[in-house]
Subunit: 351 residues, 2 copies
DNA sequence: GTGAAAGCGCTAACAA
DNA sequence: TTGTTAGCGCTTTCAC
């Protein structure tokens, strides 16, 4: 195996520009105390020689790694990948995260971590020690895992917590789930629906409760009862089926269902079809997330759009800002959800 | 900002075990010349102290970076992400690549590179210098970009070329496109079709010609004419529309179409519908790639399945093997495509 | 504002 | 088989 040495190092640049290593280092890192003239001369040498600093060496000498680690739940992520149902959560994170990282000379790396596992800490510690990332992005359900959050806090690594709002550590970001749930429900109420049912997500995800709260709030504001209009799911298609059957099996069935994610909404579509209900004539359905698949169902689903790319992009910005010593905003950052109206919603049936 | 030092270094382990740094290093790297007893003692200290080597330091001292870089075409990848049409190319690469990397203590990192750009070389050189990856995975159309291939060869970095077969550099891997094209065509012929048309991909992708060759071969073997049965596309939906209109506009129209990717096949579905043709009764359609979306079209598309995860996984294995000094296999590696029969194929209309 | 020296954590090369 | 020494490329002190 060939022992590979850096072709052009800071030394070559220093020699070429006739300055000390230190000055070159200062120019690379855009430090203040360098005369413009000096900086130009060094920059010229850098460009001429095509010098690019070694991240490993920078990291070694106690500076940054220019690396941000994005953590996702191993089990769920792999299951999504294998299922090949078009969930593009990871892609949207990459889209928002990688591009924003690139703007700052950073890079993003993905890492899968088991939540349901007593060695989360060991797993994550190892990754941090090996990689020494400058920041970490947590996604649900990790964002609210106290083991993970405390570990990161202890290590003093800036970290974002997507889909999380509480605690005084890290940088929480949400899509305003409660408001989104409220708006979606209100949209159905505005169409004339009075019996708007809700299928919740698992309690493990804190955003499940927010979405429910939004629905509940809109219903309450409109003076509508919610008795018997809630069913519990766990984000899986199958749980959505069970919930939908429970909801639509009653004589006094709801005229609209707001499901906490796409899979469960698709299950509603299937159950409705089996029961001879036409969507949206007999039943309106709205989902959360808006993964690519919901534009292709029959009918296409009206959905709350989760702005993953934008949220990840903000997370990267805030992590780098924190790394640069800027204060982290006080409250949680809200990157508002969107709402895409498609064919699964209409006025309720008359009578 | 806190200056972060490694909590547990090789020194601590050495002290704890009462051995030299070098011995610890040998244990970490599973080198042979260490007495079992010694190795156990050191390993015990490692476990006790929770030591994990710093990748940066390992890289700095001339060893590996334990990093494999996966290169994708910037323009196309970002377009796919933004389009949100459920293309899971990146996800499948991650699935196959990350998991295999993890087995060997490696990590995979994604990087986007412009092909149509005179500074590909500068761009890629910078990434290589900054990151010092132990290997690189090239995807189409990069796999056949001479600038990229030569650069990697010159740097002496093991690299895989997915979707490529030629040249004596790097590790070429294909899904056996020609065979897949042949099989798909044969499948249609077996159903009774005689006029099987083909929509090609852009010439920029070498696999376009392989897929075409497979179709041509099957048609030839069956003694069927191909005049007027080929149309050129560029993988875009719109180009697929144009090709389909050209093909289906004739009086003597084909009874089946094999499209070189999913988007163009979907365009065929749309054009057929506009012309009042029922798929699969009046027209059979088969696509290449089998992205998640094609299971949801109306009717669902019969498709050649591109084994991206498996191919990426093999690529990682071979790169690491090469890094370990093993000889690279001679011919191109073939990870055979699959074939998924769905509702878009049937016997041709009687007539 | 600029430079010189020390050291980050690890491994290659050499010595014992 | 094990230990010692000398860096890798860079940034952090700390002088000047």
């Amino acid at each position: 195996m060939v022992r590979r040495r850096q072709a052009v190092t800071i030394k070559h640049v220093a020699a070429d520009a006739g300055v000390s290593l230190q000055t070159v280092s200062r120019v690379i890192n855009k430090e203040p105390n360098v005369r413009p003239q000096m900086q130009e001369r060094v920059q010229a040498s850098i460009d001429k020689l095509g010098y690019v600093p070694s991240r490993a060496a920078q990291r070694m000498s106690g500076s940054r790694s220019y690396l941000i680690l994005a953590l996702n739940d191993r089990e769920r992520t792999i299951a999504d990948w294998r299922a090949r149902q078009g969930s593009d959560w990871v892609d949207q994170m990459l889209l928002g995260g990688m591009l924003k990282c690139a703007e700052y000379g950073y890079r993003m790396m993905f890492e899968l971590v088991d939540t349901h596992n007593d060695h989360v800490e060991r797993e994550l510690s190892a990754a941090i020690t090996a990689l020494q990332p400058d920041g970490v992005i947590l996604t649900p359900p990790h964002s609210d895992n106290p083991l993970i959050v405390n570990l990161l806090d202890k290590h003093n690594i800036p970290f974002a917590r997507i889909g999380s709002a509480g605690w005084a550590v890290g940088i929480p970001l949400t899509m305003g789930d409660e408001q989104a749930g409220k708006d979606a429900t209100q949209h159905l109420i505005d169409l004339g629906h009075e019996k708007v049912a809700f299928i919740s997500g698992p309690d493990e995800y804190i955003l499940s409760s927010w979405r429910r709260a939004g629905w509940q709030c809109a219903m309450g504001n409109a003076g509508l009862a919610i008795d018997g209009l809630i069913a519990n799911g766990d984000f899986s298609f199958e749980s959505g089926r069970i919930a939908a059957e429970q909801l639509l099996g009653k004589t006094d069935r709801p005229t609209a269902i707001l499901a906490s994610n796409d899979q469960m909404a698709m299950a509603c579509l299937e159950v409705a079809r089996e029961k001879g209900l036409v969507v949206p004539d007999d039943l309106s359905v709205v989902s959360f997330d808006n993964t690519p698949i919901v534009a292709l169902t029959d009918p296409p689903l009206t959905a709350v759009d989760q702005p993953i790319a934008e949220t990840t992009s903000r997370a990267v910005e805030l992590i780098i800002a924190a790394k640069n010593g800027n204060r982290t905003p006080d409250g949680p950052i809200i990157v508002p959800a969107g709402f895409v109206e498609r064919g699964s919603t209409a006025a309720p049936p008359r009578g």
